[in-house]
Symmetry: C2
Subunit: 332 residues, 2 copies
DNA sequence: CTGAAAGCGCTAACAG
DNA sequence: CTGTTAGCGCTTTCAG
């Protein structure tokens, strides 16, 4: 390894013929330094190729200029939109973001979140994967602010930024019901996921209002991939007394459902949660529950930086609205 | 702020009635510690809620157990797939990833990369946005290994992991040419981007081989979004002597092109670089140049960890293959 | 097998 | 306006 020793501030001070502290002042842009010395120090820094060791600086000052972001799945565009938004806010504040992905594994969530705390991040944004964030309570008390994103925490006190899952699903299904549909296929991922159970509640509310009920035979769950959603809907379509409409609880379910319908030559109405790239290319009209993902990430980041900045108001929940959009069908 | 002082190893040592060093040994899992002392220390750690300060540990040992990842655009699924893959490899090695996005801004690239070096990341994976990475040469000499991803570096020495842009584009266009097409619309993003100019070279090679040439009037560039690609193709279709086929240099161009063709009721053949989510839902057959994005990220991460591990072989370029796939059309 | 002492590279107090 | 003196919390010598 060509790991020549990196020069330190001591080396710079020696080279410039000034004290360590003067070098520190120049590097930190303290105004009250003689211009001549600034010049000398700057020259030495350049000459030696000095680079301030941020880790050492942080050790002394306690801060760290990084925040942690733990999401459920970095390969999912929803979370990466959040990540991009959080990152943009952070960079603007002079912070960097350490990102980690749990792949929906509660044990990984715990390990990663605690690891980030050990790295003394200034704050943490977490999309809970498990159902117990009690392990964070201690860190929060110790002064690491935590904002929960997309799903609320259990057993830990912190701000939460969520979307209106229930209301969005309810409005979408209400439309299907208004058009006379009663037998609506429901394609869901695991109901253990907060957003899924909330959306199911919304569906239930819309049906109940119309005097209907959820038919458990039309409810498919644990559909992690478009492929699973597609097979699930194909099975429902092939069964006796098939559904006359479909509600998909996330974008992967919607993609799988559309594939199934195209393959079956069926055109029953589809509504789904989440918009997605290329949704406008869908071969027929699809109603989607949309929301502003970047805004969600921005809200979480702003909340976190408010806490880092010393905001000690009681933690609260921010719920972002959703709205129905029409996608697919004849391209405009 | 409820920032009670976090307990340090000194506090733990005092509580357990042992020396600082013994606590350190226990925490680092040194085997040669008396079981009774281990027990005592563990109990005190638990009781005080001690959390090792990784920053301080790293300061002394020089390492940092983090790697940096700088991509061009965290909102683009290509880069986030890379990020997910890199992150997975890193976590497996006990490292965390600090991610940053340049939004294709060379100045941001430089600032972010140098910032990460100041944080003493153990290594850096960088998707170059600018055309000069000379600023990194010094860091590399100082012992921070750098792997360039998706695009090669200029002015800096490091490993690079790329895909076969030229070959992929060439094969796709060769197919169109073989079917008798000569007037092929070319929808590109900025040719200043390495991958774009490489893909254009591939197109040129395929045409030249057949005795044709690129018609500059059929070449549209700087198409950053699907909307721009759509308008560009619409303009070409409306012009006299319109193209009889389309080659799209990335997935956003492909999406825009398909929109334009559907709107125009045209069915001229489309080939494009990059597969994308929902590509199978396209309303007609589209040939896409596909490649294994996660593998690309994995390759870069593995190269980086090899360097971190002390590999001092000469830096090299790894080129990953591409292949043509058929998407869209009748859903199978 | 354990502990005391000496730093890692920098910043925060104080003096001059 | 500048320099000296202590540390930040931990790991690393090197003796016991």
């Amino acid at each position: 390894m060509p790991k020549r020793d990196r020069p330190t501030m001591i080396d710079v001070a020696a080279d410039a013929g000034v004290s360590l502290k003067t070098v520190s002042r120049v590097i930190n842009g303290v105004a009250t330094v003689d211009a001549v010395l600034v010049e000398k120090v700057t020259a030495s820094i350049e000459k030696l190729g000095f680079r301030r060791n941020v880790m050492a600086a942080n050790l002394r000052s306690g801060a760290s200029d990084t925040i942690g972001l733990v999401t459920a799945d970095l390969a999912n565009s929803f979370y990466t939109s959040l990540a991009a938004a959080v990152s943009a806010v952070a960079v603007r504040q002079g912070y960097q973001v350490i990102m980690a992905s749990t792949d929906e594994d509660p044990a990984a969530e715990r390990a990663l979140a605690l690891d980030l705390c050990q790295r003394r991040v200034s704050g943490l944004i977490l999309v809970p994967s498990g159902h117990d964030q009690g392990y964070l309570q201690h860190e929060i008390r110790m002064g690491t602010p935590v904002v929960f994103l997309d799903r609320p925490a259990v057993g830990a006190t912190g701000d939460a930024v969520l979307i209106d899952n229930r209301g969005g699903a309810e409005r979408a299904v209400r439309e299907l019901v208004a058009e006379g549909h009663r037998r609506i296929a429901l394609l869901f991922d695991s109901l253990a996921i907060f957003t899924m159970s909330e959306r199911l509640e919304g569906v239930k509310a819309a049906l109940t209002d119309a005097g209907h009920e959820i038919d458990p035979r039309l409810l498919a769950t644990d559909l992690h991939t478009p492929e699973l959603a597609r097979s699930a809907l194909e099975a429902l379509l092939a069964a006796p007394d098939p559904p006359t409409a479909v509600f998909c609880a996330n974008n992967r379910a919607t993609i799988g459902a559309v594939e199934a319908l195209v393959a079956a030559g069926s055109q029953i109405p589809v509504a789904g949660f989440d918009d997605f790239e290329a949704s406008r290319l869908l071969p027929f009209r699809v109603r989607l529950v949309d929301y502003d993902t970047p805004r969600l990430g921005i809200a979480a980041a702003e909340r976190l930086f408010a806490r880092i900045g010393g905001d000690t108001t009681d933690p609260g929940v921010i719920v972002q609205p959703t709205h129905l959009v029409d996608r697919g069908g004849p391209v405009r």
